[in-house]
Symmetry: C2
DNA sequence: CGCTTAATTGAACATACTCAAAATTTGTGG
DNA sequence: CCACAAATTTTGAGTATGTTCAATTAAGCG
């Protein structure tokens, strides 16, 4: 049962909460939605590439997206995630003209493309939208800096434990309240933690032996969050 | 000849260019400067501490400042620098209430403290100020993400070479067009590159042996920028 | 069912860290 | 300006962590 583009509502009708667009009135939302394009992205499909010229602002209606940057040696590094109601590509509007990262669908997604011009016009009219965008940037910056410290100062095991915690807080758990509500390849976990696939495999096996996590095929269950947090060396 | 607080002009008279406040009219600048406090900070003195409640916005009139975050194990990590006309502590205004990093004077500095309230009021009135602030955030985010990749994927030598290049582009060179216009302890360079003091010393010695840099007491001279760039694995 | 992709395991190796000690520089009070 | 204490830089050697590379097993998919 494949999702259709017609499943995407207009901005006015959009049911997604907690987006930066909540500050907009119905009229403004309708203005935002002019020239809107909704698209279906299959798992693994690229929404936009790092370095490409910015062609608008993306808003995730449904699905999970990872943002990665390419290192000099061709190794990918996950820098951020996006999910329902999150915005992608907004930094390209503000600084440079090109996208700073590559956005890839982690599962089948429905993503809208909004007009750059409309967004900028709305920001000028509605200070709340500017304010929300600034808060968003500010939070992303805080997370990026925290991530930097983690990678710079933690061991591979600590970073992998932290990656699991980040995945939990970003995507949440399934109904059993234990299983991470996202499936990743080992190499993708490695890209978050900034290590190799092999080290990731060995470390996950070690965490499993310590009864901190459970591994069921592609699924990862968090059995002992307290221990996992301790392993990640997070004390705040 | 110690600098005095009286050396600091009013915002209206401030000669610093390329700040986010260039968008302001004289009247607005004067509004910004109400309740302004100028302070002298001695080398090594802390302007504000990570985790402290935000008590305003800082604007560097003259000097060099480093922003650091503390890792779980107590190791400092330099996340950003600020120099003449740069703003500090602006993120605390937007997200959380507390400062996300510790700001320390790298040399004797003159730094103004501006009222939080005035800044926010001005942002609401003048969309250009919001826009500039957003651009600033956006650039900081880009740099932080680039820094993340560097630390995650480069060797210690590459990171140290990169640190020197960052120092050059941030603080520039002295009149000879070779000497970095900033003096740092070896441990501070290590904090930028995310490595240890010993590794930094050995690597600088190695770069010196390769005739890429020259070490004169506390000063670092860049003899061969091309080679240094190559060593840093920067190809763009 | 065969082919491709992903996960796993092992072993050798390298990078960079830790710890300790010595040399040097810097700062401060007399 | 000197002497002494403190901080910083430097060097060495041993070690651990994590990478690389190669080979094997398992899983996914048309």
């Amino acid at each position: 049962m494949k999702k259709q583009i017609s499943d995407i509502p207009t901005c006015v009708q959009c049911t997604n909460k907690s987006s930066i667009f909540c500050a907009l009135s119905s009229n403004e939302k309708s203005e935002l939605g002019e020239n809107k394009g909704g698209n279906f992205y299959k798992k693994g499909q690229v929404v936009f590439y790092e370095g490409n010229h910015s062609s608008g602002l993306y808003c995730v209606f449904k699905g999970k997206v990872k943002l990665t940057k390419l290192g000099e040696d061709g190794k990918e590094q996950v820098i951020r995630f996006a999910k329902d109601a999150d915005i992608l590509g907004y930094r390209a509007l503000l600084s440079n003209e090109s996208y700073q990262a590559t956005a890839t669908a982690m599962e089948d997604c429905l993503i809208c493309r909004l007009s750059k011009k409309n967004f900028i016009q709305l920001m000028e009219k509605n200070p709340k939208l500017s304010w929300n965008t600034m808060r968003l940037l500010s939070n992303d910056l805080r997370k990026a800096e925290q991530h930097l410290i983690n990678i710079a100062q933690k061991t591979a095991k600590e970073r992998i434990a932290e990656a699991l915690i980040v995945l939990k807080s970003t995507f949440g758990l399934k109904l059993d309240q234990k299983t991470l509500d996202v499936t990743l390849k080992r190499s993708e976990i490695a890209e978050i933690a900034g290590t190799t696939t092999e080290t990731t495999i060995r470390t996950l096996a070690s965490l499993h032996k310590e009864e901190i996590i459970e591994l069921n095929e592609k699924n990862i269950l968090i059995l002992n969050l307290k221990k996992l947090t301790k392993t990640a060396a997070i004390y705040d």
